[in-house]
């Protein structure tokens, strides 16, 4: 394992005796092809610091995500949640610190495109889809395939790829809108389309920034089911404000505050934590 000392509040990926029905994370059994996850950790962030003109957005942030884990990140506004995602996806470079995807890929040295190609998918806070293209075409572009210029010039969908898109269209319940321009979808439908785009991209780690914002209760519930079914095959990191939603999916929650990890554990544990209460309710 790493030599870096683990802060005391970091939970070892461990079996939860209260029996939330979740397997121990970090068993390493679900190692995915192409990515070295020998130690069962898909994402490693250690001592990350980011500052913008003197404002420290992230301070010594240390966080590990296990293979197949579904992790929720909560925290008040300005806690650094989005900045953290920016660091992971290469949009923002940390001033210092270590960021590894799997055991070997140094995220601080890779471009945004390389990071996306290596298997990290991201859903933005504001749903971002290709508005002029149809729902089907949005999924077609997102699909995991060779994405070079030459490949695109000659690309033709294979039957297998079409089936996969059809399948995802069913999953996200947009089958009947497949030929509609994505710009005409409702806010909730756009959220689902963006999630669908992540599904066809088939990343090993999904970063989801407020995925249920603007969704109806039924849609939120459905999304919770969807995410739970994705975990284990994929690793998920979900940033969300909706505590009900967090409670329904996560058995492992990380609380960020002022750019570093304040508490980590099950939702009950962090909700009972004095410091968390103080941060959320004000002092």
């Amino acid at each position: 394992m790493r030599a870096t000392p683990v802060p005391e509040f970091m939970l070892e990926p461990a079996y939860d005796p209260s029996g939330s029905g979740r397997d121990p994370i970090g068993a390493g059994a679900l190692a995915t092809k192409g990515l070295n996850v020998r130690h069962g950790t898909i994402l490693t962030l250690e001592d990350i610091n980011v500052s913008f003109d003197g404002f420290k957005a992230l301070t010594n942030l240390t966080l590990y995500i296990g293979v197949g884990e579904l992790r929720c990140i909560i925290g008040p506004n300005g806690a650094g949640k989005t900045t953290m995602m920016d660091v992971i996806t290469g949009k923002t470079r940390p001033d210092n610190g270590v960021a590894y995807f799997g055991e070997t890929l140094d995220l601080t040295q890779m471009s945004e495109v390389e990071i996306a190609q290596s298997g990290i998918g991201r859903k933005f806070q504001k749903p971002t889809v290709f508005e002029a293209l149809s729902v089907f075409e949005n999924l077609e572009l997102a699909q995991k395939t060779n994405k070079s210029v030459w490949a695109s010039l000659r690309a033709k969908l294979t039957g297998e790829q079409k089936d996969r898109i059809d399948e995802v269209l069913q999953t996200i319940k947009l089958d009947t809108s497949r030929n509609r321009p994505a710009g005409l979808l409702s806010h909730g439908q756009k959220q689902f389309l963006e999630i669908g785009m992540l599904l066809v991209q088939d990343p090993q780690l999904l970063l989801l920034d407020e995925p249920v914002a603007g969704m109806t209760d039924a849609e939120t519930e459905f999304t919770a089911e969807l995410f739970k079914s994705l975990a284990r095959k994929h690793s998920l990191m979900v940033v969300e404000h909706d505590m009900g939603f967090v409670g329904s999916i996560a058995d492992h929650v990380t609380v960020l505050h002022q750019g570093s990890v304040l508490a980590e554990g099950s939702l009950e544990q962090v909700q009972a934590d004095e410091r968390v209460i103080e941060v959320y309710l004000g002092r």
Partner: protein, 363 residues
């Protein structure tokens, strides 16, 4: 596959107008364009004779149509508004002009060089008496410039209005450079007094007809190329790039390569159009690089309807048709009319003339 979804605007337009109708109109226009040079070959007293003036005028407009199409590929599809496409057009024109000047000069130096008392050709003029090398230059000069400019601009992620300003500055710099006599391209007079092309008299009816037909072929080929690109996944990636570049990057596409490809392709098309323009019009000078020319090209595209393939052709045809009428009838009011037209289009026809036609088709 169900109707490929990116049948984009062209197909959607034709679906509404009725595909037969638009194909019929297209074929009719093509037939007229092919007939024009043939009718030009008729004796001058024949009622159907097309004058050299009309043929040159239409040939010139067809070259502008190719520029409009090329500009639309980068602006309408990829969202890169270039205000410097006149530079690529002029470079192609100058490359062809070099060949024509060498033809006119025979074994001696081109006239303007003798006038400057130069005794030998500058190095970049070597080989220009060879038609094939001149054709290579027509492609290489705009293509390489676009490649280098695009490489650095896209690497630095220059977008939007900053990109437009830089292209504008580039064409302005090119114009200043070519205005200098020392640059070796005839200074502010440019190239003129061409005599022959491949040994044929450049003013003869047959040569004019062939040049006109070559322009028609290039236009149809560009249109076909644009159509194929728009229908391909490449075209859909460009549209995605225009609307949500960040999303596309997080999908694993590197926008730089896509932008560079369409940017260089567009520049080369402009260069080819310029190369056909020069022998037909008989002159090329640095004013072709003036920023106003490039801005006018953007007006053609906006007026016709960007993001469609037919729109820019309509726009270029309409504006230039009006221009040649106005500059004869009310020469001093042309620029006012152009400005007025642009304001009307921006306010009332956001999708251009083609958007208007499509609306009519729906009703």
């Amino acid at each position: 596959m169900t109707m490929p979804m990116n049948q984009t605007l062209l197909a959607r337009a034709s679906a509404k107008l009725g595909p037969q109708a638009s194909i019929a109109v297209g074929l009719l226009v093509l037939a007229i364009l092919v007939a024009m040079p043939l009718l030009h070959l008729l004796p001058a007293d024949n009622a159907l004779h097309v004058s050299a003036y009309s043929l040159t005028l239409v040939g010139k407009i067809l070259c502008y149509c190719i520029v409009a199409l090329a500009l639309d590929l980068v602006w309408g599809y990829a969202g890169l508004l270039s205000l410097g496409h006149g530079l690529f057009f002029a470079l192609g024109g100058y490359a062809m002009g070099m060949y024509l000047m060498r033809e006119a000069a025979g074994d001696g130096l081109p006239a303007f060089m003798s006038f400057l008392a130069w005794t030998e050709l500058p190095w970049y003029w070597y080989g220009t008496s060879n038609f094939l090398w001149a054709l290579c230059l027509v492609v290489l000069a705009p293509g390489l410039l676009a490649l280098v400019f695009g490489f650095f601009a896209f690497r630095s992620r220059i977008k939007g209005v900053y990109f437009s300003i830089m292209t504008q500055a580039l064409t302005f710099a090119g114009m200043l450079l070519f205005f200098r006599n020392e640059t070796g391209f005839g200074g502010n007079n440019g190239f003129t007094n061409f005599r022959t092309i491949l040994g044929f008299d450049i003013t003869s009816a047959h040569t004019r007809a062939v040049l006109f037909l070559a322009t028609v072929v290039l236009l149809v080929a560009s249109l076909y190329l644009g159509w194929r690109l728009a229908r391909s996944k490449f075209g859909r990636v460009l549209t995605a790039l225009r609307d949500a570049e960040n999303r596309l990057m997080f999908c694993g596409y590197n926008p730089r390569g896509y932008k560079l490809f369409i940017w260089v392709l567009s520049a080369v098309l402009c260069g080819l159009a310029g190369a056909l323009y020069v022998p037909q019009v008989g002159i090329i000078n640095p004013s072709e690089m003036s920023p106003t020319n490039s801005i006018e090209a953007a007006v053609w595209v906006a007026l016709g309807g960007r993001g469609t393939l037919i729109g820019p052709l309509l726009g270029a045809g309409l504006v230039n048709g009006m221009k040649s009428w106005f500059t004869v009838a009310f020469p001093e009011y042309w620029l006012f009319a152009l400005g007025f037209l642009f304001i009307v289009v921006t306010l009332f026809l956001p999708k251009g003339v083609i958007g208007l036609l499509r609306k009519k088709g729906e009703q």
